[in-house]
Symmetry: C2
Subunit: 201 residues, 2 copies
């Protein structure tokens, strides 16, 4: 049954949880799902595409959007702004399209304050040892950077209790299926369907 209202799913998870791999596969299998793209004032890196990885906009434009309350949440990091534009998300949800938002734990908390009905999902590696192994096996980071990522992951790990679901990425296929199940099951929750069904009586 088609529900009238789309849902907002907020996905967090520490670096090394394998979020981008899982996300890519979930989006490939669910083309109707809208993946929210953030705005940033930082310069695009090589291979980053405007509208895919970020909307790269100027500082002035970003601040105008802040003034007009056009962000679901935003933050300033290393002298650059990062924010989640609200309009497209609202349009999708109003037309019955689900929205998936990839965001770190602090941003997720800000989203929840504005939209408490959002479904919070935390993607975790099976263990902290495995997370460390994955971060090291990339072979691209310095030891300092790896230690910093591990410290951040440890902090993020503690935020797990504030999420609705924990998806464990031991095997990508399992994690993808679990995430898809959550997307589907959440539409069946009584609170979301009861009005429609009362009318059907």
């Amino acid at each position: 049954m088609k529900d009238q209202q789309g849902l907002l799913f907020v996905l967090s998870g520490p670096s090394g949880a394998g979020k981008s791999t899982v996300l890519k596969e979930v989006l490939r299998r669910n083309p109707a799902l809208y993946f929210s793209v953030s705005c940033t004032t930082r310069m695009p890196r090589p291979a980053e595409i405007h509208g895919i990885h970020y909307f790269f906009i100027g500082r002035e434009q970003f601040e105008e959007m802040i003034q007009r309350n056009e962000f679901l949440e935003y933050t300033e990091y290393a002298k650059d702004y990062y924010g989640t534009p609200l309009l497209k998300i609202q349009e999708c949800m109003a037309s019955g399209t689900d929205v998936l938002l990839d965001i770190e734990t602090e941003g997720a908390q800000n989203v929840i304050q504005k939209m408490p009905e959002a479904v919070r999902i935390f993607l975790v590696p099976p263990s902290f040892e495995e997370l460390e192994r994955r971060l090291r096996s990339r072979g691209t980071d310095t030891e300092d950077k790896i230690l910093a990522r591990l410290q951040t992951a440890r902090e993020e790990w503690k935020k797990m209790p504030s999420y609705d679901y924990l998806v464990v990425n031991d095997v990508v296929e399992n994690a993808v299926q679990e995430l898809e199940s959550i997307l589907k099951a959440e539409h069946c929750r009584t609170a979301r369907r009861i009005e429609q069904m009362k009318e059907a009586l």
Copy 2:
């Protein structure tokens, strides 16, 4: 990821919702799921098999089981006992096997009192008109019986708010997929996984 504890899923739904068709398909696709078989003191009907449709037992044996607290719930209807045996359900859950229980709304309430962690799912037809159409199209019931079933369905329909999920059986395949999603997604709920993941830190 394999969870240590199996979950109990309680499925209710009015006559004509198509519960047996949906159940059969879900059980076929998920052979690891244990479908709880009830005990009854009534005589088996033709084609009913002991251990499949019911455990057909004597009145004395049933009452002994009541004394020994061996039912999750039981009721007396038209001078016969009907009950959900507890032991097998506990064994399954302890060994990590999910249990599915097909039970009417009153029995479901009794189950929840004893096992509040059970997940309650209500299967509904897309509308009351469709329910009536389905009941009439069977062509096996008298008008009186149809009206009685509709009255019961109307009463059961009102119990929807006490369920966690509403699965709408408009198309069997959709209902089966929604039910399967709920079975999977419930294992991902933070409350069920958090202890394991805390240990993993």
